[in-house]
């Protein structure tokens, strides 16, 4: 089912759509390294003050830093505060 999984990406490319229009993707908004808003998350895989790993289905986002804290959390969004040193998509 590789073709199915890559369909959104192919459509985005073909129709020249912005990356956040089609479902399935996540979005990360960083504010000065002190706050991160994560949208479209599917669950937390790891949570320590130094590292938070969030799942987006096929992809994972790792936030590394110090004193990381989940300020607020609901079905699709996460607000992370603390000293964010790196964000990594896997």
């Amino acid at each position: 089912m590789k073709a199915d999984r890559e369909l959104p990406a192919a459509l985005e490319e073909l129709l020249e759509l912005p990356g956040d229009v089609l479902p399935g993707g996540g979005r990360l908004t960083l504010c000065g390294g002190r706050q991160a808003l994560i949208e479209g998350q599917r669950g937390i895989l790891e949570y320590t003050p130094e590292r938070i790993v969030v799942s987006f289905g096929r992809e994972k986002l790792s936030l590394n830093g110090d004193g990381l804290r989940l300020r607020a959390m609901n079905r699709g969004e996460l607000l992370v505060t603390g000293r964010i040193r790196a964000a990594e998509w896997e």
Binding site: I44, L45, L70, R71, A72, N74, R75
Partner: protein, 385 residues
């Protein structure tokens, strides 16, 4: 800071212990449970906050994930209500306050008058008070139609009036009548004469006969348009002269200010005293109210308890601030302010247009003298007598 609405709903702070407490977070948010202030204590424990109503569901999810829940703190909600109920004095105070605020909202504590031009705000307020409406009136009992009729009888200058009461604040909107134009008898003959000296530029006659020509210099009191007109039988006919005579006029105004005058300079530490006003009753929060305080400027400020524009309460705090001063002699002459006052005086004297003007400073002995010379154009024709 937690919002008041969150406190009303009630929130709990709890700690989760288990093999993978983050899994409980995922299950909770997938069920629509809002979480905040999630802190990781270590690999196997988390501290978080949620609404009180979600506690039972969260405990069930935690049990399912093999985690334990320890409730650390409850804020607001049912627990808050229980705490208030355990304090009867506080509860009674809250109830009395709520009752007083409700009762207070049925009375007028502030009256605002809008739309006055020739009438003063005080005249309208006095007429309203004479008709039984003012600060302290029970507004549901006020018949606005009757009040309007009574006030309009007392103030014939009013053409229309409306009273709107909102949250103890009454807004009285008025519209004044247009003044009647000056009436005169057409058979009452009179001439138009010069109000002041000038150089005639244009003569416009509507009734009567012109006695001056353009370019002529006239002095104050000279007849410009005579109150007589030719008739078909050759005899002059007496009329009331009407028309305008535009002329160039010149003004010279002077302002004089002593070089050395008595000045107030702040000295010492200002002090304040307070009073509470409930409706029309004043309660001084100081002793010795009859004592006059010399050598001080007194500045009075009033603060009304309430929300501006929304509602008012009968309670006002009055602050009287006394600023001591010392009298000294010095030069406080401000030529710019004196010039502005001279221009204001000139605009009050002429209804015409100022073509050119100049200010000339000078000094005469112990006096500053500022002279304004202005060249204007205006209608100088006025009715004789």
């Amino acid at each position: 800071m937690e919002r008041i609405s969150d406190r009303m709903r009630g929130s709990v702070e709890l700690e989760l212990f288990g093999a993978f407490p983050a899994g409980v977070l995922n299950s909770a948010v997938s069920e629509g449970i809002e979480l905040w202030d999630v802190q990781s204590r270590d690999e196997h424990s988390l501290r978080l906050k949620t609404f009180e109503k979600n506690l039972a569901r969260l405990e069930r999810l935690a049990r399912r994930a093999g985690c334990e829940v320890d409730i650390r703190k409850r804020v607001g909600g049912r627990e808050g209500l229980r705490r208030v109920l355990r304090r009867p004095v506080l509860l009674a105070g809250l109830l009395v306050t709520a009752l007083l605020l409700t009762a207070s909202s049925l009375f007028v504590w502030d009256v605002e008058v809008q739309g006055t031009r020739r009438l003063s705000r005080g005249e309208v307020l006095r007429a309203l008070e004479d008709c039984g409406f003012g600060v302290g009136s029970f507004w549901p009992g006020v018949k606005t139609d009757l009040l309007r009729s009574e006030v309009m009888v007392r103030l014939p200058e009013l053409a229309w009036m409306a009273v709107n009461v909102s949250g103890s604040r009454a807004t009285v909107a008025v519209a004044e009548r247009q003044p009647k134009p000056e009436m005169y008898d057409a058979a009452d003959a009179c001439s138009l004469v010069a109000a002041r000296d000038g150089l005639v530029r244009r003569v416009n006659v509507l009734a009567g006969s012109a006695q001056v020509k353009e370019g002529e210099i006239v002095t104050a009191g000279r007849v410009l348009i005579a109150g007589s007109s030719d008739s078909i039988n050759g005899m002059p006919r007496a009329v009331r002269a009407r028309g305008s005579v535009m002329a160039d006029t010149w003004y010279e105004l002077s302002a004089v200010c002593p070089v050395r005058e008595r000045l107030k300079t702040p000295a010492g530490v200002p002090h304040s005293r307070f009073a509470l006003v409930f409706g029309k009753t004043r309660l001084n929060l100081y002793i010795g109210s009859g004592k006059t305080i010399d050598g001080c400027d007194k500045i009075i400020s009033e603060y009304t308890l309430g929300l501006s524009g929304l509602f008012s309460t009968p309670l006002r705090l009055v602050r009287e601030r006394f600023v001591p001063y010392r009298l000294s002699t010095g030069d406080d002459y401000d030529p710019e302010a004196a010039g502005q006052r001279l221009y204001a005086l000139l605009e009050g004297r002429t209804e015409g247009q100022i073509l050119e003007s100049a200010l000339t400073p000078g000094r005469a002995g112990e006096l500053h003298v500022l002279t304004l010379r202005a060249h204007c154009t205006e209608n100088i024709a006025i009715a004789d007598g």
